[in-house]
Each structure stands twice: as structure tokens, then as C-alpha cells.
């Protein structure tokens, strides 16, 4: 028997809608589960004290500091490279074999799993260049990891700047670089900031690439050669060793809030400032 299209339509909508709802519910459940278990442990003492007894008690202050220092260093390294690449691709060259190679390389880099970045960072930065487990090794490794994101978002932001802006600048006698510096980049800034925030969100949650390059020291770092422990690594070690469930949950809650906060800001900037040149 052939089912009337009207009913297959209803059936399809119900199934597709059900699948979508299931997806959203599972993902929301994960966030709410962690927050519900973890938030009771998050007190001012928890946020402002150093860990004691390998993290079994005490707070996570140095871990929070490490969680933000490491990505900031990575962004400081990757930003000039990423923005430079994007400016070159959009303003200084046409589509050629060369730009295709650069794009292919960027895509490949984006697809490499974090454990491979961890292996590479360990052998190259930690062992061969002798930086040891440190903020510097971790920052350089993360910089490579976020480079594709920064290149892509910057490229998109620059392409969204209308050509008339450049033409006006040229007609006033500005050179290409002056135009990039005073017209293109300021107008692409919100898009670039979105890229930075997305990279920050990804770096904060990263574990595999960080644990083998930045190490897991619980001290407050005093130089770039000091090892740091991020919240994701701290949480993983606490959970794996079964050191303290309460502190593990608390760390996870702070971690999730940090990532959500960063991503929400990125989204807000994107909607508020990007794509308004029409």
C-alpha cells in the first residue's frame, strides 16, 4: 500500500524533530549535570586558594591562572601569523596555485587531532629545543593548533569589508599597506576578535595537547619556563586518580562556565558587530 504524501510528511517531521530534540536534550543534560554536581563546591575559597595535598583539598587559583595564561600566550603568538596570512591571502594576491596550497595546508592543520599536537610539541619544544614542560612549550603548541581558526575567521572578516572602502582609501592616495592598516583591519576587527574568542574557548578546554607540553605543576608560574596546569588537565587528573570527586566536579563546573562564557561573548560580538556594512 502506498502511504499518502501528507502522512509521510508528518512522519518525517516527527522523526526529524525528535532527533533534533534528542540532540539538544543530551547536550543540555551534560552541562546541567556538571553544573548541578559542581557548583556547590565552587566557593570564594575554592577560587582564591592554592590547592593542598595534590588537589584533594584547597582551591584552584594557580590552575585558573594557568588556564588563562597558556591560551593568552598562544594567541599572542598565533595572532600576528594568522592575521598576516589572512591579509596576504585576501589583499596581496589573487587565487593561484600558491594560495590553494596555503589553504590546503591550513585545512590539514585544522584536522590534526590534539594528541598529535601533543606528541609534536613534546618532542620538538620540550625535548629538542629544550624548553621543558613549560608555559612556553604549551603556548607554542596551542598556537599551531589555533592558527587555522584565526586565519579562517580573519579571512572571512576581511572579505566582508566592502571594496568601496578600499577604493576610497586608494583614491585619497593611500598605499596598499596604509589601506590595510587604517581601513581594512579596523573594519574587520569584530570578526578577528570573534576568531580570538573561539580560539580561547578551544584552548581552555584542551587537554591532550597541553598535558604533554605544559606539564601539570600546581605552583603559580613565575616565568614562561615554568610548568603550569590548566583546569582541563587538573580535572582529568583528579577524576582519573580518584583524588577528590568534590574538587573534580567543582573544577569541571568552573571550566564549563569559562568555556560557555568565552563562546557566548564570541557569539555576541559576531551578532552585534559583524556583517553590518550593507
Amino acid at each position: 500500500m502506498r502511504i499518502a504524501p501528507k502522512y509521510t510528511q508528518r512522519l518525517a517531521v516527527a522523526l526529524l524533530g525528535g532527533a533534533t530534540l534528542l540532540t539538544l536534550l543530551v547536550l543540555l543534560f551534560i552541562i546541567l549535570f556538571v553544573l548541578q554536581k559542581g557548583l556547590p563546591a565552587v566557593t570564594w575559597q575554592f577560587l582564591s586558594q592554592a590547592p593542598r595535598d595534590m588537589g584533594r583539598s584547597g582551591g584552584i587559583l594557580p590552575v585558573i591562572v594557568g588556564t588563562f595564561l597558556l591560551p593568552l600566550l598562544a594567541i599572542a603568538i598565533a595572532l600576528p601569523l594568522g592575521v598576516g596570512t589572512a591579509v596576504y591571502l585576501t589583499e596581496y594576491t589573487r587565487e593561484t596555485r600558491l594560495t590553494r596550497v596555503i589553504r590546503f595546508g591550513t585545512d590539514c592543520l585544522a584536522g590534526i587531532p590534539s594528541i598529535i599536537f601533543g606528541l609534536f610539541g613534546f618532542i620538538f619544544f620540550v625535548v629538542i629545543l629544550g624548553f621543558g614542560w613549560s608555559l612556553l612549550s604549551g603556548g607554542l603548541t596551542l598556537a599551531l593548533m589555533i592558527l587555522p581558526t584565526i586565519i579562517r575567521t580573519t579571512e572571512e572578516a576581511i572579505r566582508a569589508v566592502p571594496n568601496t572602502f578600499r577604493e576610497v582609501s586608494f583614491s585619497l592616495g593611500a598605499t596598499r599597506w596604509e589601506t590595510v592598516l587604517h581601513v581594512v583591519l579596523p573594519n574587520a576587527l569584530p570578526g578577528i576578535v570573534t576568531g580570538i574568542m573561539l580560539s580561547l574557548g578551544r584552548s581552555i578546554g584542551e587537554t591532550a595537547a597541553v598535558i604533554f607540553t605544559a606539564g601539570s605543576a600546581l605552583r603559580m608560574p613565575t616565568s614562561v619556563y615554568d610548568s603550569v596546569r590548566t583546569m582541563a588537565v587538573h580535572f582529568y587528573l583528579l577524576a582519573r586518580e580518584g583524588l577528590s570527586n568534590e574538587n573534580a566536579y567543582g573544577t569541571a563546573a568552573v571550566l564549563i562556565l569559562a568555556v560557555l562564557g568565552v563562546n557566548l561573548t564570541a557569539y555576541w560580538i559576531m551578532n552585534r558587530f559583524v556583517g553590518r556594512h550593507t
Partner: protein
């Protein structure tokens, strides 16, 4: 003077533009430099096809890890691909625009949940559930595949959504004008037009699943053996590297880099495949 600074800027930018390629080559070079001599030393057959992983006694066979990685990835695709593609279709075709404005950012926020958190949920919620209702140790191939399947959902949804949104609206309008229902328009016209983009999203998600480390370490159990069923404990290639990297030295460390080489090759094949699928689409349109 002006002319001079322009040339300098251009040259500096040309050099900078190669940073991502340089990074990629450095990574490939150093992983290969550490791993390849080892593979040649013990022989590719003994490394890839032996089931005996016992670094303390000089046995380095990663066959069980290869099998586990493949099964766990296929399992994850079985969960993630249908749900993700269904979600993308529904969000694009059947959800009114204002609701989309709420759902899309929510999904993108969820894409940022760190993998250790997924792993922890697997340990605290999923594994006990499997142990209680299906038997086995709980930390298993099944738990790993389910968690990975959920983790790749945002990837599948966001890339498939882009592919479906890129289908010209005239296609949709044409089908509807001929009297098709919305669902007929979707599965007879829009899905055909968006096919390669959807396929690419699934292949890219596969790459993510093969490479995922922390969540898998926490939920898959990590026993080095060839799984006989979905409830068995397994160790993937990524887990093997991350578990032993902390203390490995000498040949053992090289063996882990060699595992990295195998993983790297898997990923490169998947990425090139996705690129190929997408390029074909571009050429056709």
C-alpha cells in the same frame, strides 16, 4: 621611501603566509622522524599485524588498537551521522527562522564542551548504566562509541547545515510549485543537491572521532585486546599514546610515535577524502 616600506611589508607577509604550511610540515617531519625508524626496526608486519603489546618485553603489536579505533569510529558514526544529518535537515527546512536564532547559538555553545567533560559524563552516567542493564565492565567499546557519537554531533550538524543552506532556494520553490510536500522537496531535491556537503561533514566528523583522545581514554576501558562484542573493554590508537607517553623512554617512546604515524596517516586519508568530495561539488556547480 614609501615604495620601499610597501615592498618590505609584502615580503614579510609572503613569508608569514607560509606559517601554517611550515607548522604542518614540521609536525609531519618530527612525528615521522621519531616513529618511522622504529617501524622499519621491528618491521611493519610485526608492528601493524601482531596482537602482542608488551613494551616491557619488547613486543610492540598495535593490531588490537587499530581494530578498536576503527570499530569505535564506525560505532560513533552510526550514532552521530543519522542524528546530526536529521538535525541539520530539521533546523533548515522545518524550523521557523526566529526559533533558529535561538537553537543555532545553543548548538554552537555545546560544540565548545571540553572532551574531558564528555569523558566524565561517560564514566559517571553512561558506563554504570551499561554495566547495570547490558552487563560487561561498563567501560567499553559501546560506551566509547556512544560518547564519541554525541561529541561529533555539532560538527555534523554545523557543516551539513551549511551544505543544505547553500542549495539555491529556486530548487526548493520549483519542487513545491510542482505540488511536492516539503518532505518530498527535501528528500527528492534538496538532499540530492546537498549530498556532497553532507558526505564531507560525515567524513570530517570521522576524522574527529578517530583522533579524539581524552573522552575515549576515560570511557573505553583501555584493555589491549581485540574486541569480541560491543561490551568489551578496548584501547584505541590515541588512548595508547596518551596513556603511556607520560613514562615511556627509548624504544617504547618511539613505538608511541610510530602509533602516532599510523594515526596521522588515518587522519590525512580522511581529510583528503573530505577535500576531494567538496572539490568535486565545486567543479560541478
Amino acid at each position: 621611501m614609501k615604495w620601499n616600506s610597501e615592498t618590505i611589508v609584502r615580503q614579510v607577509l609572503t613569508v608569514i603566509a607560509f606559517s601554517s604550511i611550515a607548522g604542518l610540515l614540521l609536525i609531519a617531519l618530527f612525528i615521522l622522524k621519531e616513529g618511522l625508524p622504529f617501524i622499519l626496526h621491528v618491521g611493519p608486519r610485526a608492528f601493524l599485524l601482531s596482537s602482542n603489546w608488551d613494551p616491557a618485553n619488547g613486543h610492540y603489536g598495535i593490531y588490537p588498537m587499530i581494530v578498536a579505533s576503527i570499530w569505535i569510529t564506525l560505532g560513533a558514526m552510526l550514532v552521530g551521522a543519522p542524528l546530526g544529518v536529521a538535525g541539520a535537515i530539521f533546523l533548515n527546512e522545518f524550523v521557523p527562522k526566529p526559533a533558529m536564532r535561538l537553537i543555532k547559538p545553543t548548538l554552537e555553545l555545546l560544540a565548545g564542551i571540553p572532551s574531558v567533560v564528555f569523558g566524565f559524563i561517560g564514566v559517571m552516567v553512561l558506563a554504570p548504566f551499561i554495566r547495570a542493564h547490558l552487563g560487561g565492565p561498563g567501560l567499553s567499546l559501546l560506551a566509547g562509541a556512544l560518547i564519541l557519537g554525541i561529541m561529533i554531533l555539532p560538527t555534523v550538524i554545523s557543516i551539513s547545515t551549511d551544505a543544505i543552506a547553500a542549495v539555491p532556494s529556486t530548487f526548493r520553490e520549483g519542487a513545491l510549485a510542482l505540488g511536492a510536500t516539503r518532505w518530498q522537496a527535501v528528500h527528492m531535491v534538496i538532499l540530492k543537491a546537498a549530498r556532497s556537503g553532507i558526505l564531507a561533514s560525515i567524513i570530517l566528523a570521522m576524522g574527529r572521532a578517530v583522533g579524539e583522545t581524552m573522552a575515549v581514554i576515560m570511557v573505553a576501558g583501555n584493555a589491549v585486546k581485540i574486541p569480541h562484542g560491543p561490551l568489551d573493554s578496548v584501547r584505541t590508537l590515541t588512548a595508547n599514546i596518551a596513556l603511556e607517553m607520560g613514562y615511556a623512554t627509548g624504544l617504547h617512546r618511539q613505538a608511541l610515535f610510530a602509533t602516532g604515524v599510523v594515526l596521522f596517516i588515518f587522519i590525512m586519508i580522511l581529510n583528503s577524502l573530505a577535500g576531494l568530495v567538496l572539490r568535486k561539488k565545486v567543479r560541478r556547480s
